[in-house]
């Protein structure tokens, strides 16, 4: 299935992409599968969304979709059907922080 992901601006610049990226994933549609696919397509993003050592989401990034904050969901929880179907993107958001 094809999933849409919108990266924050600094990671779009790092990955040299404009706008959303689309990645093909195996079922089920989970955060882990989506991020694995994003990192496989854009290896320069390895370690920038999830910490290399812990595989935990970086503290100042959050995951949103369908007007829900999914940041604290299990990485193996199912994403909303609208994300799995490609109707809505998974949003990777940089926290408004730093003054």
């Amino acid at each position: 299935m094809m999933v849409r992901v919108l990266l924050p601006a600094h990671l779009r610049a790092l990955a040299r992409v404009d706008g959303e990226v689309k990645v093909e994933i195996e079922e089920p549609a989970t955060q882990r599968n989506v991020l694995d696919a994003v990192e496989a397509s854009y290896p320069m993003l390895l370690g920038t969304i999830r910490d290399h050592a812990t595989q935990q989401r970086r503290a100042f990034l959050r995951f949103f979709a369908c007007e829900r904050d999914l940041s604290h969901e299990s990485p193996d929880a199912l994403l909303p059907e609208a994300v799995a179907s490609g109707e809505e993107p998974l949003l990777v958001i940089g926290a408004v922080a730093g003054g």
Binding site: A9, H10, G47, T48, H52, A97
Partner: protein, 371 residues
């Protein structure tokens, strides 16, 4: 005609400043990696177009970039900095054990002989090496597992390994410095390390002459005399004439011996430069006067260099990796400030001119002298 390429890391990107040997007119390229903190960038001595960049952000951690064409284009290389084995703990600010956690790379030091070999100094303090141009990194864990490691504490800027010096006369000898553990030397290519802090005295630690625990800010060496080292400690300017086995203070007549940078003239091994900073609580020049001090006697006797530098109302800092020299004759000296200025002296410090005035806060300055 010779050229110089000045590599500037800032809080919000990297800049590359180039000029011909007169060093009067400059081309400014950048920002590269706009918005990211660029702690350090440095070129390979054997392939000057091979550049390495440490790029980091509070949002997305560490990235390493590499260029094979002098900074015209870049490619992302490896950023997997994993401590060997179980990382263990060091001391936190309050003295309690704290797990070793990788945060960022402060300094990248390319090999003197192989453009694909590069060392990275990390926070929390550790030394990594890549043998494949930055794609993969392996910790030289003998340093962190030196017996004193659990007692190391961070300085105010974090527990960073910020200085890496490769001995041009001995491929197995290397020096590193950590805030606030001190200086260390290896004589076997990084397998084992000894602390080289004898002679340092730090009044702010429980034992002022302890084997480790000193807040070393920077160390410099002249390649023709690799056994002679110069150090800007938190307080005190020091020198060692025996590869760090013993240090003696050479602060002499400096107005204050606090500071961050120290460097050595390219052709005169006893000519050294520092930028005195008022104190650890007031990170700006004394009396609002930005002065580089030069010693032509390897320390103790210092002269202020002020021509072209602001002598009133100047309250910038000059951070530890933000001074460098070129190899032209006359030797050029360069430094960057937290106010975003990068100054050049094309006459070994006698006079200064800003190359740029309004960059983001400067974190590092390196210079390449190109044919």
């Amino acid at each position: 005609m010779s050229q110089v390429r000045v590599l500037v890391g800032t809080r919000k990107g990297a800049f590359i400043l180039t000029s011909v040997g007169k060093r009067e007119n400059w081309n400014v390229s950048g920002p590269h990696f706009a918005g990211w903190e660029i702690f350090h960038l440095k070129g390979s001595p054997v392939d000057p177009n091979r550049l390495y960049v440490s790029q980091s952000s509070g949002w997305s951690g560490q990235v390493v970039q590499r260029s094979n064409d002098g900074g015209a284009t870049w490619e992302t290389v490896g950023n997997k900095f994993l401590y060997e084995g179980v990382p263990g703990t060091h001391q936190w600010y309050d003295g309690t054990p704290h797990p070793w956690e990788f945060k960022r790379v402060w300094h990248l030091e390319p090999s003197l002989t192989d453009p694909d070999v590069v060392y990275a100094g990390a926070e929390d303090a550790a030394l990594f090496r890549s043998n494949d141009g930055g794609k993969n990194w392996e910790e030289l864990a003998g340093l962190r597992k030196h017996g004193s490691g659990p007692h190391w504490q961070p300085g105010a800027g974090g527990m960073c390994l910020h200085t890496i010096i490769l001995d041009p006369s001995d491929a197995k000898r290397m020096y590193i410095a950590i805030s606030a553990a001190g200086a260390f030397r290896t004589d076997d290519g990084g397998k084992s390390w000894i602390p080289i802090n004898q002679g340092l005295r730090s009044e702010h630690i429980p034992d002022p002459t302890a084997e480790v625990g000193h807040c070393v800010h920077h160390i410099a060496m002249h390649r023709d005399r690799p056994e002679v080292l110069f150090m800007q400690k938190h307080w005190d300017v020091m020198r060692s004439d025996n590869a760090g086995d013993l240090w003696t203070e050479v602060s002499g007549n400096l107005p204050t011996d606090f500071g961050f940078v120290i460097d050595v003239h390219a052709h005169e091994p006893e000519t050294i430069y520092v930028v005195p900073i008022k104190s650890d609580g007031e990170h700006f020049p004394p009396d609002g006067k930005l002065r580089v001090y030069r010693s032509r006697s390897g320390g103790n006797e210092w002269e202020p260099l002020t021509k072209g530098l602001p002598q009133s109302n100047c309250y910038v800092n000059v951070l530890r990796d933000a001074m460098a020299v070129d190899a032209l004759d006359k030797c050029g000296v360069y430094f960057g400030t937290t106010g975003g200025q990068v100054y050049v002296s094309p006459d070994a410090g006698d006079s200064w001119t800003p190359i740029v005035r309004d960059l983001p806060a400067v974190l590092s300055v390196e210079v390449q002298t190109l044919p």
